[in-house]
């Protein structure tokens, strides 16, 4: 049965829902000590459900920012709960982001396609997300090219601006022109919404278990706050 079949990742929409739930609930109950237990529990839960890499990745930034805000609010307001509230708020943001960090753009696009969300929106989303690494690469290449022309000195803003902005804009225009033409010639049309999906995103027992456990956590938090 498909519901019990093993799959590689949590359903993107389910992951998004779980992330948003943790974020909102964490922020609402941030002023309670119980929220700390809820967020810690959610963190452990996410590790167990395969998000361990992202959990480890966010940890250093969370620890540093938490320490700074905790000390600032603890000593600023002379109150332990003020410090804990700030840590909880940061925790809600960081833990809430974890499921979203692991969603492959194409999986999200396909999930939304299955829900008959217009392809213009889903494709726009996919391209926007895919554009980020490309943009990073372009900026790195332009910075490098500036050095080769002797225009990499930030202390000379007039030259720096020209040598960065002009190639950057030209590249962006060229890339977006080519990309737009390429997707149109590969069959995309804003007027048509009858695209098919290569890999269907399904909901299975693991997705439902994760959602139920998060809901149990929310209920416990509401009861023991």
């Amino acid at each position: 049965m498909a519901f019990f079949k093993k799959k590689e990742h949590i359903n993107p929409l389910m992951a998004m829902f779980v992330g948003v739930t943790i974020l909102i609930v964490g922020l609402i109950f941030a002023k309670t000590y119980a929220a700390s237990y809820f967020l810690s529990g959610a963190y452990v839960l996410l590790i167990g459900f395969g998000y361990y890499k992202s959990c480890i990745r966010i940890l250093p930034a969370f620890i540093i920012l938490s320490a700074i805000f905790f000390l600032a609010f603890y000593y600023g307001k002379n109150s332990l709960i003020a410090g804990v509230t700030m840590v909880n708020r940061l925790g809600a943001i960081f833990v809430g982001l974890i499921p979203g960090m692991n969603i492959e753009p194409i999986c999200m696009t396909r999930s939304l396609n299955q829900l008959k969300v217009p392809r213009a929106i889903t494709l726009g989303m996919l391209i926007t997300i895919s554009f980020m690494p490309l943009l990073r690469e372009e900026i790195a290449r332009i910075r490098e090219a500036m050095k080769t022309r002797g225009a990499g000195n930030i202390l000379n803003p007039k030259v720096f601006y020209r040598a960065f902005i002009i190639p950057f804009v030209i590249r962006l225009v060229n890339i977006s022109d080519t990309l737009a033409l390429s997707i149109e010639t590969r069959g995309f049309s804003i007027e048509s919404n009858n695209a098919t999906t290569y890999k269907k995103e399904t909901i299975n027992v693991v997705d439902v278990t994760l959602l139920l456990l998060v809901i149990v956590g929310v209920v416990l938090l509401a009861v023991f706050k």
């Binding site: 080769t148 022309r149 149109e184």
Partner: protein, 470 residues
């Protein structure tokens, strides 16, 4: 029924830019047709007309009949035409939107609502044809592999008419030959293939018919052998070969790993001062990485590169600005290196003396464009300008990454002549990466051939011929 038929086509972008006047053209199923001609004469416009890009995306005034599979496509939407005609555009890098090869391939299939089971079959077929791994990450592919991926994505849609705009631009000789084999086999199985390509030496054996675009016309070439031979003539080698013992670079067991992926391993060779070195090798063998390491844009993870330009560059703290004045780097894409408002100012950025600027403008045949905006120049002119701007610093070493890619024969000849003139005047050391058999020998005193197994072969100009199989 013909695959493509253009009858008495006239097209103009505006009154000043008339591209075709009463031109006709046809392609039958089962044949590979080459569209040749100088840059800017209308090859891309022709491809855009056949594929419906004109008038749907690019505008202009068109008259005459464009028949695809016997049907007039006047007033037909691009979305309709692209189901009949597949077009593979240039600049593959800018067209990839998915993280994995298989997702990129099925992107087009999803758009045209292909059933799921057929998509899987199409992935298997095109990956097998073009030797792609469907599970590979797209960002880890080399330039040539990305070009293959975009070709695969179009092929998977299953149209019987295929247009390829410079498909060989980033492919090495073996990659180019393999792609042409695939296209020829598709033609034999009933496809109509139209290719726009400047590397006629590679395309020639596979082509059934040739059209020349120019003078507002599309002319069918009767004697294709004569035409092709006139276009693939190698650039004459008329520079004295430099053979000196004085070194400018020495590479000792240089290696480079990026995220555990080994790009280069145990590379050792010397580069003589004042010599012209051509770096050859297949796609993905690490040529670009190697010149990036030599020119200090990237660090080697193993081994050492010794430089003999100036001892001051051996110190831990040295001026990068001074280094790049001594080692000039010219990128494959000129858009990265041009940023001033006029051609003259672009050169003046590195050269203060007016007479020197004039000399450089003369040498690079750019005098008539001195007040033109660099971005409004043609691709070949932009490349010349980039080299001129970098050469303005009088660098001891000039590093060139594919200086002739996508250029027609006339522009290529001009480029090679300028580079050799510059070399003779300044006595610089010139390191060039190229896949272009027409000019490699003309830019070469020493050939360095990188092989996939990490082996390096160092030879002379005669080895360039051997490498390209001439």
């Amino acid at each position: 029924m013909r695959a493509v038929e253009l009858n008495n086509i006239s097209f103009k972008y505006n009154e000043k830019a008339i591209i075709f006047k009463d031109a006709s053209f046809f392609v039958d199923y089962g044949e590979v047709v080459l569209v040749s001609g100088h840059s800017g004469e209308g090859k891309s416009t022709l491809m855009s007309i056949i594929s419906g890009i004109i008038p749907n995306v690019n505008y202009g005034e068109i008259s005459g009949d464009v028949l695809i599979q016997g049907e007039n496509i006047k007033d037909k939407k691009l979305n309709y035409v692209c189901r009949k005609v597949g077009i593979v555009l240039q600049n593959a890098d800018s067209q990839i939107i998915n993280k994995y090869v298989e997702d990129e391939i099925v992107f087009a299939c999803e758009n045209i609502a292909m059933p799921q089971d057929k998509m899987q079959k199409q992935i298997n077929i095109v990956c097998n044809l073009l030797k792609l791994n469907p599970k590979d990450k797209t960002r880890s592919l080399s330039g040539g592999q990305k070009q293959k991926l975009i070709t695969a994505s179009t092929l998977a849609m299953g149209q019987k008419i295929l247009i390829l705009d410079e498909p060989l631009a980033n492919l090495d000789k073996d990659g180019a030959k393999k792609l042409m084999d695939v296209l020829k086999s598709l033609a034999k199985s009933g496809y109509a293939i139209i290719i726009v390509e400047h590397r006629l030496d590679v395309v020639m054996p596979y082509v059934d018919r040739v059209y020349h675009v120019g003078n507002k016309n599309i002319e069918l070439i009767d004697d294709k052998e004569k035409y092709l031979l006139s276009q693939i003539k190698k650039v004459e080698v008329n520079t004295n070969i430099v053979d000196t013992k004085e070194l400018i670079f020495r590479l000792d067991n240089v290696g480079c790993k990026i995220k555990e992926k080994e790009i280069l391993k145990n590379i050792s060779f010397d580069i003589q001062k004042g010599s012209r070195v051509v770096l050859l090798g297949e796609n993905g063998v690490g040529k670009t990485t190697l010149i990036r390491i030599i020119s200090r844009l990237q660090k080697a993870t193993e081994g050492k590169v010794s430089q003999y330009i100036d001892e001051k560059f051996d110190k831990k703290l040295y001026s990068k600005r001074q280094w790049f004045k001594k080692v000039g780097i010219v990128y494959q894409n000129p858009d990265y290196q041009l940023f001033m408002p006029t051609v003259r100012k672009e050169i003046a950025f590195g050269v203060k003396d007016n007479k020197e600027i004039d000399d450089i403008l003369e040498m690079f045949n750019l005098k008539e464009f001195e007040n033109t905006h660099p971005q409004s120049l043609s691709e070949g002119q932009k490349r010349r300008l980039t080299i001129a701007a970098v050469a303005g610093y009088k660098p001891d070493v000039l590093v060139l990454d594919e200086p002739t890619v996508g250029q027609d024969y006339k522009v290529l000849q001009e480029m090679v002549a300028i580079l050799n003139r510059l070399h003779e005047t300044t006595k610089n050391t010139m390191i060039t990466i190229t896949h272009d058999a027409r000019c490699a020998k003309a830019l070469c005193d020493r050939a360095i051939i990188l092989k996939k197994n990490g082996e390096v072969f160092v030879g002379g100009p005669e080895d360039v011929d051997r490498y390209f199989g001439n």
